[in-house]
Amino acid sequence: MSLSTPYSKLVLATAVAAVTFTTACKPKKAETVISGDAAQKVYVAPGKLDEVYLFASGGFSGQVAAYGLPSGRLLKVIPVFSQNPENGWGYSEETKAMLNTSHGFIPWDDAHHPQISKTDGSDDGRWLFINGNNTPRIARINLATFKTEEILEIPNSGGNHSSPYCTENTEYVVAGTRFSVPIEGNTDVPINTYKENFRGALSFVKVDPKEGHMNIAFQLLVPGVNYDLARSGKGASHGWMFFTCYNSEQANTLLEVNASQRDKDFIMAVNWKKAEEYLKQGKGKKTPTTYYHNNYDERTHSASSKVEKEVLTLDTRVLKDIVYFIPCPKSPHGADVSPDGESIVASGKLAAVIPVFSFKKMTDAIAKKTFESEFDKVPVIKYEAALAGEVQKPGLGPLHTEFDDKGYAYTSMFVSSEIVKWKVDTREVVDRIPTYYSIGHLCVVGGDNKKPYGKYAIALNKITKDRYLPTGPELTQSAQLFDITGEKMNLLLDFPTIGEPHYAQACPADVILKNQKKIFELSKNEHPYAVKNEKETKIVRNGKRVDVWMTAIRSHLAPDNIEGIKLGDEVYFHITNLEQDWDVPHGFAVKGAENAELLIMPGETQTIKWTPKSTGIFPFYCTDFCSALHQEMQGYARVSPANSTVALKSGIGETAPKNELAKN
């Protein structure tokens, strides 16, 4: 067929039109949403520092990762709930106690929601709290040292998910249970007695304003449903905390179906000031339970565990005006409070709208008792009575909302993989941008503060296919950085993350830098096995236990020759890093140790236990490249048979043990 026939011309024209039409209608892809100056906006020149710290949860890695923004560079993985062989966290004698729980030594958890401590509703950069979801715990990381200083187990809970959101001045961090469980008396009950026997516990953990130490002030015993997320009120709504609930069906099997039946679940509004009043009136009940409280003392560089035996509870079936339910469509996930504290944005992850509740309307409704019903003795406020309005057609699967400094809200849409920007006042959608792929939480810098910093939004995505070079079946997770300074959001950067970056919080680097410590002062080291100079190094036997008081300095360990260890001994190497230069940690590893190495910061003392399994000569060495003579930073331990007469001796240079043959 020749192209010159009229018929063929028609075909061609149609084809061209079809191609043009298709091209014109096809939505933008990743490459096209990046504007030309994105690279410039994320480039942090060598020698320059990032503007923002991003603290992202490591999800199922159990850790926290600190990133710099806008570069997206991973600055440090902070070990929290999981053992970390890189620095011996959870392996060293000093840190083992941090992972103690009432279930024993649990060297892992599922870390979800980092929270920077707040003063007057804004990030103050002192501490970072994070929940352990699996074996309910809350950890506190000191942002002066980037070290986990405290881990508090949460009793009466199953799945510490709506946690550890903190109040305006870090009066409390909360630990809301995800799974309701039977909690008092006989807990060995049939699972299908969920409705009768299962209850939720919302723990209010008091934070000492000076040292940050945590203790469970009280637990609210609440209806048996699932508690998902929480946010504290601020400004107008200070004194309240809002939790999302799902499974108001109270199903105990196949929740996928059985907990998705009702059109509306709930937001639970908690008046914690009221709870405090009841406590003052002595209405709390001391309930026996067992949970661990682990503290790491920065002066002794050592952790210890304390077992707590009871917790104070307030039952919302009895004390009715502490909590209220607000109906919320459908399977609510996030509840987020606007910077002024007036709007409570709820996201029903299966809902077609985003309801925005008004704090004022809610309290008016409570005062006028505009209730529609009760749920397990908790009053349910009428939906319309508390509603400020709904965001219409926001997208599919709204999850979480954060706010900027210009009156806009940003909501993550899991199903439609996008961020939707809308105006808080008018609830009108003004912009949307795709994310790659399946965004969960999102974070605006200071986005839960009274005064958000704005500037960047970070998408925390569940899936990354096609974003990086493929790495086998297990792909990395990813975060994405968006510029939100203009009317339109702009994608700037993708960067891979550790574990699952479940949620993250970000704050300007200055806020952290002003408190940051660079070394542990050797003179203030109160570790019981600290050695302040090489002359004090020694080796001491006590039965089968041998303690080595060792020092590390560029470029030697002292002592570096140890003899007289016998098979069957337990050897504890206590190593003090004598350096006071802030970039010179030393490592320590010994052949055949069954745990890990140590990474000892300048001025710090750390201990590793070693039980030799055979006789012979065992090298030990520094693992962190410390100087030109790092490779020479090594030594030997001699292990003799159990009945050997080799005397326990140690030394370095002139003082090294001499020529003692074993006489067996």
Binding site: I553, R554, S555, E579, Q580, D581, D583, A628, L629
Partner: protein, 207 residues
């Protein structure tokens, strides 16, 4: 002494007391690994700053550790400066040119002895190295500069007076300056006197 000289004498004497409050000398070290730099401050009776770090580094080249207690100078210096300042006050009180010149000479001796002593210490530290040291560079000595900058392996070492030192140097220079001025004034005065006499004579002669 002229009134202005007398004022400068008291100012100089007081200026010298700055050595009690501020570091006299500063040695700085810069290297790629130390972008923030290392500093050693010599005070009238102590050595402060990153001395421990510097000692830690010096062991590579076998340099002796620096300890303030090893320096007899740091025990004498407070008295020496005190006496010199007191001499200044005496000069002011007595308003005596001879005392002024003596003071200037003492200060010059003090300055020269100080510099020579400082140099000798530096020479000793830079040359008396442990033969067992890890790093040996043939022909290399690690003597820091007396004044100014000098590259020592990967370190750029700088040696300069610090605020207290500048105050003392300022005082010494001022005293030398006043002495010169006073000397000149004295000469001029003698000259003028003899001129007057000549004129007198000639007047007489004219009569």
């Amino acid at each position: 002494m002229k009134k202005s000289s007398r004022i400068l004498v008291i100012v100089s004497a007081v200026l010298m007391l700055g050595a009690y409050f501020f570091p006299i000398w500063k040695i700085s070290l810069e290297a790629p690994q130390y972008p923030e730099g290392l500093e050693m401050n010599i005070l009238i009776n102590n050595i402060t700053g990153d001395v421990a770090k510097i000692n830690g580094l010096n062991h590579y080249i076998g340099m002796k550790h620096i300890h303030a207690e090893d320096f007899i100078e740091l025990k004498l210096l407070p008295y020496a400066v005190g006496l010199l300042a007191a001499f200044g006050l005496l000069t002011y009180w007595r308003n005596n040119q001879k005392l002024l010149y003596t003071w200037a000479v003492l200060l010059i001796i003090f300055g020269v002895v100080g510099a020579v002593d400082f140099y000798l210490w530096e020479y000793d530290y830079g040359h008396d190295l442990d033969p067992m040291a890890a790093i040996k560079v043939p022909g290399m000595s690690y003597q820091p500069p007396l004044f100014g900058y000098k590259q020592l392996l990967n370190f750029l070492a700088g040696s300069f007076p610090a605020l207290g030192g500048w105050m003392v140097i300022g005082a010494i220079s001022t005293v030398i300056g006043i002495s010169i001025i006073e000397l000149r004034t004295k000469k001029n005065n003698k000259h003028e006197k003899s001129n007057v006499n000549t004129i007198g004579h000639s007047n007489v002669g004219l009569q």
